[in-house]
């Protein structure tokens, strides 16, 4: 059976997308996995100026997941162009994730990365950078950012939204502004407190929680968005650790499925996940694209 997925003219060999962040810019990750084994790779979010990231601790362990406060540390677009781009993977769909504060930040980044990427991902939902809420909480700003990017690139645009806000509303806003795909979702906001000190473990109090614990929450959000926008391609992202999880996301409505924390913890396990999807499709005698959103049509025949 067939695992291929074609979206806006871009063909993905299989539905597995490595999510932005946990696998960095790929240099280390691709020592464990071949680009030809995955559907796509998303770079760590890059911003115009270099970013130092947050003060440690940046990782806190929680049940069946982690709480992170990285803070988008990255070398900025200039160093990205000169040092990262030459090492980007060949042979898989390249998605470059961009971050910033204003529509100008984003549209300039969109222009500058256009020639290096197959798709770009607008990160409106990092829980670890702004002093108040994520960009996605500001509907006008979100619109302006997506519109500005739409005007400055012809590459397909993914918008990564927040799981802490209404996902249907966010999807509507970004699709109306020109997004081709929504990525559901960034890490959820969470916190953990140190009972010895009486303080939060993280200096910014909250961070983003990710990992298998949170998958049921994101699955429901994917289902809702697919229900509201049946033809919108969705990346389901959150908590995937095995091929069954990938299939669950497809059933709920995801055309592509992201893997973040698991790719970081166990990169060598990724090819096994892909193999498991293939086996499942054989057993069910169905192509992957026909599994996408099948729960909305009553399930398998």
């Amino acid at each position: 059976m067939d695992m291929k997925i074609k979206i806006k003219g871009v063909e993905f060999r299989n539905p597995i997308i490595i999510a932005s962040g946990p696998a960095g810019f790929g240099e280390e990750f691709f020592k464990y996995v071949l680009p030809s084994e995955i559907g796509g790779f998303t770079t760590k979010t890059v911003t115009l100026s270099p970013k130092e990231g947050n003060a440690p601790p940046r990782i806190v362990y929680v049940k069946d997941g982690i709480l992170n406060s990285i803070g988008l540390q990255n070398p900025g677009i200039e160093a990205f162009e000169s040092k990262v781009v030459p090492n980007l993977p060949n042979g898989t769909t390249r998605i470059i994730s961009i971050g910033g504060d204003s529509p100008n930040d984003f549209s300039e980044l969109a222009r500058r990365i256009e020639s290096f990427c197959d798709m770009l991902e607008i990160n409106l939902s990092c829980p670890n950078v702004h002093s108040h809420d994520v960009i996605a909480a500001d509907e006008e700003l979100s619109k302006d950012i997506v519109t500005a990017c739409r005007e400055s690139t012809n590459k397909p645009i993914i918008v990564k939204i927040s799981p802490d806000l209404d996902v249907v509303e966010q999807s509507r806003v970004v699709v109306e502004s020109g997004a081709d795909i929504v990525n559901i979702a960034n890490s959820l906001r969470g916190a953990k407190f140190n009972v010895e000190t009486g303080q939060a473990f993280l200096k910014r109090i909250s961070g983003g929680v990710s990992g298998p614990a949170f998958m049921p929450i994101i699955l429901w959000k994917v289902y809702q968005v697919k229900e509201a926008f049946p033809s919108l391609p969705i990346i389901g992202l959150g908590g995937v650790t095995c091929s069954r999880d990938v299939v669950e996301y497809a059933i709920a409505g995801a055309s592509l499925v992201g893997i973040g924390t698991e790719a970081m913890i166990n990169p060598t396990g990724i090819p096994k996940i892909v193999k498991g999807i293939a086996e499942f499709l054989e057993q069910k005698n169905v192509n992957f694209k026909d599994v996408v959103g099948i729960s909305h049509k009553g399930g398998f025949k």
Binding site: G21, P22, A23, G24, E28, F29, K44, E52, G53, N54, A55, P56, P57, R58, I59, V60, Y61, K63, D64, G65, I66, N68, I70, Q73, G211, P212, A213, T261, M264, I265
Partner: protein, 220 residues
């Protein structure tokens, strides 16, 4: 898993597992079990000999609960850089920070070593080579170490001890074995950041051993 030995006061344990590979003092492994925790935890090699790898672990964490109940241990590594091999070093260790220091002392020459712990049961669990001083609270490792004239120093212990060491030995050739919570253990996730004179570095990829004069111990 081959063996799990607790100190009398249950504050520390030694975990011995079969392991065919290599590892150098200062390197660490990401450790979990087939039943959890989901995120593996970094632990320095305490010893490696005849196909046996040993970790020295402070109890009370989630990993311990799984170690106690699971048949198997899963390790990934070694990660990180070996400690530098120094001439006539003074080795300083506090608590679980003794793990990499112990391994160093087993493999390489050293001149003096001071190891501190809360009480004697720590020293009934671990082995301490000759030419070492052990200290028990309220005496600290630094109470003894500050008297040493040695120029080359390597220290590993809790952050307050590291800060104090950096202050007292600011004019020596001091190395610190740093710890920071880790995600990937291999330089991808930017989780284990520390601040240095040349910007943010990562304990897993650039360390865990750093020159004290390079790191900003207050950023943490």
């Amino acid at each position: 898993m081959k063996d799990l030995t607790y100190s009398k006061d249950d504050e520390f344990l030694l975990v011995t597992i079969s392991y065919d590979g290599e590892a150098y003092p200062g390197q660490f492994f990401m450790v979990k079990t087939p039943v959890g925790p989901y995120a593996p935890r970094p632990f320095s090699a305490y010893d490696l000999k005849k196909g046996e790898l040993i970790f020295l672990i402070k109890t009370g964490g989630e990993l311990e609960r799984f170690l106690k109940n699971s048949h198997k241990v899963l390790i990934n590594g070694p990660f990180g850089n070996p400690m530098p091999i120094l001439n006539h070093p003074l080795l300083l260790a506090g608590g679980a920070g003794y793990a990499p220091i112990h391994f160093y002392a087993k493999r390489y020459d050293f001149s003096e070593m001071v190891v501190g712990a809360r009480n004697e049961s720590f020293f009934e669990l671990v082995d301490v080579p000759n030419r070492s001083v052990i200290t028990l609270e309220p005496t600290t490792v630094l109470d003894v170490a500050k008297l040493s004239p040695l120029k080359n120093v390597i220290a590993c212990g809790p952050m307050p001890m590291m800060r104090k060491t950096a202050k007292i030995f600011k004019d020596r050739n001091l190395y610190l074995v740093m710890e920071e919570k880790m995600g990937c253990g291999r330089g991808m996730c930017e989780g284990c950041a520390i601040m240095t004179k040349s910007g943010v570095k990562f304990v897993c990829k650039d360390g865990p051993t750093f020159l004290a004069s390079e790191v900003d111990l207050e950023w943490t």
